[in-house]
Symmetry: C2
Subunit: 341 residues, 2 copies
Amino acid sequence: MSESEALAPVRPGARKPPATIYDIARATGVSPSTVSRALNKPGRLKEATERRIRDAADQLGYRINPMARALPTGKTGTLALLVSDITNPVYFDVVRGAERIATARGLTLVFAESQESPELELATAQRLQTSVDGLFLVASRLTDDQIVELSSVKPLIVANRLVPGVTAVVPDPRPGISAALDRLHEFGHHRIAYLSGPDASWMNGVRWRTLFTYAVERGMSIVEIPSTTPTREGGAEALQRVLAADVSAVFAYNDLVALGLLRAARDQGVDVPRQLSIVGFDDIFGADLPTPALSTIKSPLREMGEAGMHRLLVEIDGIDEEHAPSLPTRYIDRESVADRR
Amino acid sequence: MSESEALAPVRPGARKPPATIYDIARATGVSPSTVSRALNKPGRLKEATERRIRDAADQLGYRINPMARALPTGKTGTLALLVSDITNPVYFDVVRGAERIATARGLTLVFAESQESPELELATAQRLQTSVDGLFLVASRLTDDQIVELSSVKPLIVANRLVPGVTAVVPDPRPGISAALDRLHEFGHHRIAYLSGPDASWMNGVRWRTLFTYAVERGMSIVEIPSTTPTREGGAEALQRVLAADVSAVFAYNDLVALGLLRAARDQGVDVPRQLSIVGFDDIFGADLPTPALSTIKSPLREMGEAGMHRLLVEIDGIDEEHAPSLPTRYIDRESVADRR
DNA sequence: CTGAAAGCGCTTACAG
DNA sequence: CTGAAAGCGCTTACAG
């Protein structure tokens, strides 16, 4: 069972070429155009002919060649979703939501990742663009100009970001942040920090500004502490600086960072939440796993995926079917925030 | 900032049709065939002509249409990776590994998921097959016959499964299981259980049989306890039955199940690992998050992704470049296994 | 070194 | 209701 192979695989030469509409035409004695019609516009042919053609198609195991169809029509029937890192748990529910809509519409959704590289993202987007009907950019690392340029060639939407002139779907950070701050305030926290994310991240800016405004409104002090990378390692590295800031609670740019911070605290004997309360963003897979379980501000990821796809389809088909839903964040109160009263 | 849209998006009508080789031909005064050569077979044209053509291509923002190219050549330059659930952390490193190889080869890797549905998996595989050069099935839910059938139309490989006549890449569960069992034995465990996964999972069968053989060899008693679903919920649900089995340690089908079990134990005041030791499989993201951190048997996921892609490329190009590496699992000793001596 | 021509598998006006 | 023809954007023998 350590063998990677059982019998010899099919020899390349052995593969039979797939059936085409010409094969079906020959088998049924009609013209290729008629076959095309029978398969694509049911009801436009004589009942019997259509039946005969469909049967022959089944018989021959006919499968339409989407690329051949795309050439004359310009429609590929596939959509692409581009993420920076397909293994980032933050994207999960966005992907699920998008997937659901695409499947319901009979469209193929294809994923690609840019591995956090703007160059690779641009290259991938450009290459994909010629073979799909539309692009869905989640957390793009491109510049506004690059995105606008891409959107001038084919329908495109972005999530988690606002680009002038481009359709976007972004969560509203205010309800979640507001609720979290209320909780901290009620629990007697007065000095808080924001362990920030990458400068290039649009969401990072929004989170920080919202946090800042709302904290000040509530009479709390707030300070921004930069983190090196938006990962668990980045969070762990920042612990000493967070501790040195003399705050009772810290918001982390995302759950990955918060989780790293939490683990470093545990490893170094810092009591969370008694000594330091921690709040993350996103509610990724695993946020509820540690002890204490991480309190976090959740974005409506799945709804974002669905809304994004809907709006992309609107851009493609022109049919304006529904209004953009509001996408409020929500505070999830778990165990990493302490009552100091 | 709760607005989903800033300015009006590009109107569909406003999009300029992409440049073709005909446009370049017209701009440079050569024939389309020459343009094609200039762009694809560098060095086959007069230096100056080639330069001129390349410049014009850049100028016009020319991007080759992969579907148009695929028609005459039969090569699309893209490969598809199909998983049952793209948000399952188990696939992460497989995906990363595959991605790395594809990118290095200048190929586009595209992902699709079957949402755990065999019907959807088959439909997706068939549809994708006509637009890619090869298919990589990770943890397929199809029957052997269906997979063999698919592999007769285009190059295809499977991971985490053995299908007669189909190239496969599977981890060797023995080193990891053997090491884990040695550890348990050394720690004084004599009665163990296996909380099993889906019957349809090939890996589940392999894990159980290996566990069984090796446990018996070591004089340990072992019992199989079925779990309802291979998820955290499934693991949580099984806790009472595991407890009732009167064992000191349990192996779970995968980390998701193990994590569910661990959490249920914590919630119900069962002391892990003192009262019950738990070992998972896979070492997914988050396995090290809980207290106690989960001990688990790790598959060389990334290597599997890489090896799989390599073998797929071999099937496609016929070039036999390297031998199948052995893919041993490894036991990761964390905190969920207790010393009972 | 370069061009004209045929062909890849489909669709869709245009006729009949 | 159905067929012949042209065309989608490329590639590649085949000539020259």
